[in-house]
Point group: C2
Chain length 377, copies 2
Amino acid sequence: MNRVALVAGGLARFGKREASWRDLAAEGGKATLEDLPELSPEKIDGVIVATADEEPYLAAVASEILGIKPKIATRVENLCSSGGTAITVAYSLISSGLINKVLVLGVEKMCHRQTVPLLEWDFTRGGVLMPAAWGAVYAQKHMEKFGTTEEQLALISVKNHRLSSMNPFAHFQKPITLNEVMSSRHVVTPLKLYDCCSKSDGAAGVILAGEDEARSLTDTPVWIKGLGESSQGATFGNVNPEYVTWPCVKIAAKEAYQTARVEANKIDLAMLHDAFTINEIIEYEDLGFARKGEGGRFIEQGQSEIGGKVAVNTHGGLIGVGPPIGATGVAQAVEILAQFRGTAGKRQVGRVENGLTLNLSASVSTGNVIIYGRNSH
Amino acid sequence: MNRVALVAGGLARFGKREASWRDLAAEGGKATLEDLPELSPEKIDGVIVATADEEPYLAAVASEILGIKPKIATRVENLCSSGGTAITVAYSLISSGLINKVLVLGVEKMCHRQTVPLLEWDFTRGGVLMPAAWGAVYAQKHMEKFGTTEEQLALISVKNHRLSSMNPFAHFQKPITLNEVMSSRHVVTPLKLYDCCSKSDGAAGVILAGEDEARSLTDTPVWIKGLGESSQGATFGNVNPEYVTWPCVKIAAKEAYQTARVEANKIDLAMLHDAFTINEIIEYEDLGFARKGEGGRFIEQGQSEIGGKVAVNTHGGLIGVGPPIGATGVAQAVEILAQFRGTAGKRQVGRVENGLTLNLSASVSTGNVIIYGRNSH
């Protein structure tokens, strides 16, 4: 089986952008290609575009814009976890030997939409279709059961805004205080404005390559060591009956840890899916960084801060960097690559051995976990 | 490398349907699952949905409808070649060892749309965005250069309507005469109404499995022997400078033949992408069934009829069965499976050894070729 590594990464700034989808694809794609000048575009044999945009055929469109005539160009769409799934598909296309050098490009225009994507047929949400409604249910239940506090939730937002303020590609460039989070307007109790990610436009790209190509193209390949994914359904009412623990995350993480032969306590860098502050807390637990119910204390004790046991969302997370749908999971991989390379600037943590990404969709119904490492095995 | 086979197939009738996207997904998905009762839905670990529908997250939606909680559920979208690309992605996910039993489900609601999908940014088409415009250019050039006649084009339509009249799942259930084709109204000269495929709703599903599972689940697995795909761009003006020969088809076919170790003259069954009659004629040539320029004579001499050297579009092709975007390439595989099994009823050809599918997108800018055989190597 051909091993697979990240060999390049690039971003188009996240935020409210005047640029079109095509502009963002060009900007993010070119940034990615320029990160690896040794590889000319015509040698790329796969282009996977992750986007929830309504227009069809955007992988061929992006390829044409970037001057690539790949063997395989296709869109992979899985709502907010499109990026993680696209990297997984790219991995398998390389690993199976069909192609060898794949650009995965996540692109989204989101700010012009009235709403974030809603699953309007999801009657299990009642009349309350906005994502914060499910976030609030999970938060309420976690607070009830484990005594998690609104202040603990707020600490996630403070941390992720502080980190995004050091990331020039992030939507939110200013740190915020605990008081600012606590006094922001309620969206759905107990979630307040700064407990929620916003809407952002943006693009993120990575190039993946098979073992021989990766070694010849770069001195700092970052290897995919394990992958796990689980889809539990599409409707809020069907997927997380216990609310405070998420089967798709646990199943995906178990598979990723097993295939990587890495345990949770060996992960020193993690990009998590903090659509809401409560997410990051529950994810600490379901990924095995903290015991169930102790996610609130975990953030309070600073263990997930830079320099702690596991550095979480060093790019700023969805709350700080922004959540452009298809770009979210790809941007996680871009940060993993930067941190392994030691090029993350002010956000740089110490030497990283094992990195993890968690990318989710639609009220935590799909989870994708990828584990990265310095060595190919 | 894990070998991969088709082990089941099913259809929801193509045509103008009152059913919703979800209804069609349920109908096509259930027909596919019922084709292999030995495999219970909960054992399926991948669901790839091929569709150009505007709504996101439809692979998770389809999985939930069908009672499947797969590891990997994702949409693969590549406009009219979504189905072929989805089978290619499913192949790689199995071949790489990530998952083992994958439902590929192509579903499309198309008739309610005012137009077929247009690439509105494609200025290279001038003001004429309807697909028949590019079909007509290719036809005009082929007639000019090789003396291909309107009657030869019409013979493709007569053949494919005759075949679809024997396919209970086809949109068009009646044979038509050469005179009816020739006297149908002009769409874009020289293409007339019956030279063009229509719009259709519909769904098609196949299940693919790794070698061990395939052998244990069925006595009649149909193996994927070779795959090839090529994306040359997204705009008409960029992709086929010589008009009468199509690089994406030639490149994809060459790769598929090489990986399958099969030559064109060993293909005895082929499902081609006859969006227009001229397509099938050029495809005879670019796939190596006929010499360049002789596609018109090839259909005239009846060599592509049932019982001929290579039986083409035995299900009726896009012209007879209908072209529901994401379902098109999957329906090709369903017919391959039926013909290998000998269950194609009135359409059944003799014993098939090597089958081929060709699935195209957007003015023949992307081509996907898959070669199937009785033996896994």
